[in-house]
Amino acid sequence: MTVQAPVMKSREILRDLTDKYWKQVKEAPLQGRRVAWCSGISPIDLLKVMDFTLVFPENYAATCGARKVATKNCERAESLGYSTDVCSYARNGLGAVLSGDVEHDPVDGLPRPDLLLINNYCLPIVKWFEELSRFYKVPLIIVEQGFRHDTLNQQEIEDMVRQGTQQLRDIVVFLEQFTGKRFDYDKLQVSADISLQCNQLWCEVLEMGKHIPAPFTCFDYFNSLFPIMCLKGEPGTVSYYQQLKSDLTERMSRNIGAIPQEKYRLYWDNIPIWFKLKELSQKFASYNASLVTGIYPFAWAFTDFDPKKPLEGIARNMVCYATNTGIKGRSDFITKLVQDYSVDGLVAQSSRSCRFMNIGQYDIINIVTQRTGRPAVFIEGDMCDERVYMESEVNSKIDAFMELLAQRK
């Protein structure tokens, strides 16, 4: 008999946060609030200080992916001439915006931006937002954090942080001109403190996956990413992660796993396949396999900065977050995850239209399997584009992999 998992109170808070967020987004133009569209790891604290309402097209793409409307948006982009090889987040976003077609849209379309803000972790995001900037005739701010190559030394990384900090200062000046308001550094301090607290809580929640059985799976983490990505620096987010932490603590104290009879502990590599979260989580659950950790959610778990220097802290976060590094950096990180989380095997998703996460993935996973002796399986997928996903092929690969793990147990 399996133990009934206790009710997760955090789930309700998450739903409330999400509903409230979208309500606020929808009402922003009516209330005369400025709207900014931002990328996932951009310095959103600066915009919050200036009372912008924030919209995240990547998160919107994930939502469209999960609701299975992203493929339709991708097709809309393709009919405008965008190649199927282009990032499916970008195709989803451009298809929805440029076509103006909001039929079946999960949020009935996004409010028009007054400003765009990104950090350039990849070129597609720059090109995508450049097009948005042209379409809406609004300014685009790009923060360039640079890529933390394995060849760089500590001094060079500090130079990158310094350059990043300087860019943030320039943005403050720009925002003052753009809004006609003074930038309130006290407010930034408050927001940065809360942001750090959010990052710390998120980190703690992720680390709970070390417990055997793991109280939460990667699929749950993917579903809980929204506040840390979009509502960082807000008190509601702190409450949510505190509640999540206490929910998981309760599960742990009663030895209740996310997978009732956890037998295998797996690592998930790369971005989620948003349109298959449910199916994949059921698939792994059918083998009593729990995806206990993955590098992707750690991109928002950066805590190594001085809260007294908020601008520098934000810049450091952008330079040093988990995935913004080369093969050595990433394979070291993942090796540690595999060891600390008692992982039995690795599931590596090659997301077809995300080159940033793909190139080097074979080497990274090979290094980790060699170092840890844990086997890996590669599956081909995509973040949003359902058409490239070969379900039966993926399933038979997972079946074969689970059989291999069974033999090793």
Binding site: Y82, S83, S133, T151, Q167, R355, I359, G360, Y362
Partner: protein
């Protein structure tokens, strides 16, 4: 003229075996530069020979073990050749972070091939920001320091100035070649023009300039025959030499190439470096002032306007766009390019290639396009 062209063709077709010989003869060291924007002048000033890693004709057999197949051919093919030992003559490599494939392939490369000198060049994507110039100058200076450490020799301002003068000299000669072609495009085949530019990337600039100077004299003396053919501008083919089969096909089908917007073409030499200015700043300014590129962000520069102006100046009848398969940056710019060219009634054709030659489908589409232009 034939002999010079033949020599340049050989250099373009088998650069690495020739470089090996050249190294033996001269004792020089060779640094490979991944396309597209490594400031070769700094490497040259260090007493090293910079060459651009251009895709070679070969079947990819090893690269697929290390990277996914849906990555552009300049990345896959270069990695493959290196894994096969085809680039063993290189003493060093420089990779610019112009896009994720270029950025990430350096990481993969480094895992499997070791070279004495290895450098990542981190360039800002935004060339219009107030930090762009200082950022780039700093980055070029970082590269200079790395090279000095490698050679054990200081690169002086004068060294840099000399190299810039040599490179500008070569650029001016290439500009003259393009001017000659504009006036009478029948004088030289598109394949030959591409070979001239590609070979400039693969050998000592001084020697290339000498050969090119001789070639230009012969070309100027050639009496042009005038023909009524559809006039084409070719654009794109980033990080790669346009496939000569396709260039030949264009001309066999009755069109003539009057100018181009190709990486192995006008983009390589159009912008000169200011010789009066502090050298590293001048090189950084060239990067900023250069032709609009899908890997650079500058809202004040419009690629489509640039291309339309080129078409106007050359009285082009149409534009052929060559898109390297899986080149995401170019693919993201294409819809707007298409829209603007259409609005301006400039006929255009997109062909996507992955270095597999002039396939039947490409032939059919090109034929229909050129027939349409000839009306």
């Amino acid at each position: 003229m034939k002999r010079t062209l033949q020599l340049l063709k050989e250099i373009t077709e088998s650069p690495y075996s020739r470089l090996k010989l050249w190294k033996k003869e001269t004792g020089h060291k060779v640094i490979g530069c991944f396309p597209m924007y490594v400031p070769e002048e700094i490497i040259h000033a260090a007493g090293l020979l910079p060459v651009v890693l251009l895709e070679q004709e070969q079947t990819i057999t090893l690269a697929d073990n290390y990277i996914q197949p849906y990555i552009c051919s300049p990345v896959r093919s270069n990695l493959d050749l290196s894994l096969k030992g085809g680039m063993d003559c290189l003493d060093g490599l420089v990779f610019p972070d112009i896009c994720e494939p270029a950025q990430m392939i350096s990481e993969v490369w480094k895992m499997h091939q070791s070279v004495p000198f290895f450098h990542n060049m981190m360039v800002p994507v935004n060339t219009s920001a107030n930090y762009s110039l200082s950022h780039l100058t700093h980055e070029f200076s970082r590269m200079k320091t790395a090279l000095e450490k490698f050679t054990g020799r200081v690169i002086t301002q004068q060294d840099l100035k000399n190299s810039i003068a040599i490179y500008n000299g070569n650029r001016r000669l290439l500009q003259r070649l393009y001017q000659l072609r504009r006036e009478h495009p029948e004088r030289i085949a598109a394949r030959e023009v591409a070979t001239v530019v590609a070979s400039s990337m693969l050998m000592l600039k001084e020697e290339h300039s000498q050969l090119l100077g001789q070639l230009l004299e012969k070309l100027e003396a050639k009496t042009p025959t005038s023909t009524e053919r559809a006039r084409l501008v070719i654009s794109g083919s980033f990080c790669d030499m346009p496939e000569v089969d396709i260039l030949d096909l264009v001309e066999d089908l009755g069109a003539i190439v009057v100018d181009d917007d190709l990486y192995v073409g006008r983009r390589y030499f159009q912008t000169l470096v200011n010789e009066q200015e502090e050298p590293l700043t001048a090189l950084a300014k060239r990067y900023i002032d250069d032709v609009p590129c899908p890997t650079k962000y500058n809202p004040g520069k419009d690629w489509t306007q640039y291309l339309l102006k080129l078409c106007q100046e050359t009285k082009a009848d149409g534009v052929l766009i060559i898109l390297i398969k899986y080149c995401e940056s170019h693919a993201l710019d294409y819809p707007r390019l298409k829209q603007c060219l259409s609005q301006d009634n400039m006929p255009h054709l997109l062909i996507e290639t992955d270095h597999s030659g002039a396939t039947g489908q490409i032939r059919t589409r090109l034929q229909a396009f050129i027939e349409m232009l000839q009306g």
